[in-house]
Subunit: 311 residues, 2 copies
Amino acid sequence: MRNVRVGAAQLGPIQRAESRASVVKRMLALLEEAARRGCTLVVYPELALTTFFPRWHVEERAEFDVWFETAMPGPETAALFQRAAALGVAISFGYAEKTPAGEHFNTSILTDRKGAIIGKYRKIHLPGHVEFDPARTHQHLEKRYFLPGDLGFPVFHAQDGLIGMCICNDRRWPETYRVMGLQGVEMVILGFNTPSVNSQKAAEGLEERMFHHRLSLQAGAYQNATWVVAVAKAGVEDGHHLMGGTLICDPEGHIVAELPGEDDGLLVHDCDLDATRFGKETIFDFKRHRRIEHYGRITAQVGVETPPQSA
Amino acid sequence: MRNVRVGAAQLGPIQRAESRASVVKRMLALLEEAARRGCTLVVYPELALTTFFPRWHVEERAEFDVWFETAMPGPETAALFQRAAALGVAISFGYAEKTPAGEHFNTSILTDRKGAIIGKYRKIHLPGHVEFDPARTHQHLEKRYFLPGDLGFPVFHAQDGLIGMCICNDRRWPETYRVMGLQGVEMVILGFNTPSVNSQKAAEGLEERMFHHRLSLQAGAYQNATWVVAVAKAGVEDGHHLMGGTLICDPEGHIVAELPGEDDGLLVHDCDLDATRFGKETIFDFKRHRRIEHYGRITAQVGVETPPQSA
């Protein structure tokens, strides 16, 4: 048994006017609780330091560099790393990253239990669009504000196991889990900011949104025999509702813990990484069962190519 | 609206002693019912003509060529094709195929509404093992009795839409659906013979088996915005229990129809192929969102390659 007691640290809404210092204080409160409850890893959501700003269309790029971090740890986040190190708790959270070269990414990091960053991931599946879209109920401009991640889906030795990261919309794509599964991932951690309204289908409804969220996580867990820890930023940010749904899936695909509500809150679960063994060694023993000679389209083509009519 | 009224024609158990003629008679009865109810397509299970023989270990290959078809249609199945053509109903079913070259495959075919075979698929993800395994509660020797399919996952123009096939264990693999999704598939049809007992985890139980079955189908449907029609051979064959679970998923991943029981039975549902458009044009618009430069492992490696310790 290789147990990881993980704390899924949901954040309630972060208003546009809220300062980084205030957010970090909220994150510290959850960290303290997690330490008291024996967690060795705390996972916070995507864009944990700010409101979900891609909902706003801004003409001038520079106007929203205010949401981006140029250093990690930075002036406002250093306290979080220091306290995590003092408590011996590893942390993972998402933030908007601006590189020295001026590139913008939707990023997450993972530390060891001494507060050192041991892993970084940059969101690959950016949803939404680049230009203002009047047909939508609200804007979702991630393709405007971020570049697609350039680090692949790396898996890291951490917590005496193998941990990988993805972010929000990545969780809907089976490729995400499979690329990590092929590196032996035992726990996928991810944060999300998911509007409770589908901007292109307002009638869809929250229940349906939550169904797709759970379905994607559960299938990714089962089909790769991995734990999945998904952490929401939830609630109403400046009038825009983000859904909750912070939860943990076991390697058989079952939701074993779920946090109700849309406020700051901590979901704690003991995850035995050895529980991934059965699936990885039987039905999803990739080396015995996968047939890559028939998967070529997955990496050879981006979009759909329908068969010729004569086929 | 492009409606396909599909009939998912579940078969109850086929005992070892039951003749092909008897099985075809049962299939014909379901075909007549389907025609009466207005179906344009009837889908039967995997290995629809015989018992699920891979549960038996036989030393001599030749001994079980009795289960294999060397022609399709063949002497016993011709009546099925003829009646389907007369009724104007397309059919799809699975069978054990022996080629002129002596190769053995777990195969399914799809006809048009005139009884002509327009599509063939050979099962790619063969579960189980090659040699007798005393550690199992029962044998599952598909890897002994069949070669892995050599036709890929083709998608066919049929029923005014795009239809693909897979078989049984293929449904647990996201690659299966994705390769078809990349060809614009609008309906995936499949049959299965799934033991209700996991031969390597007897305590797993039927409920858990059914959960994994549904989860895999639902995720494949949602993540590729396609209908999925899954048809069981069910019930107790010579003392071995196969689970039911004949069902239809819509392109949002919901189970919209499910057949109770483990006997011969027909599940009829109207499937609007245009209901696949929303998913294919928004969240799963592959050409806008997929990032194949990060999927390389999926086709470059078969098994797991864990990261180096220094990573």
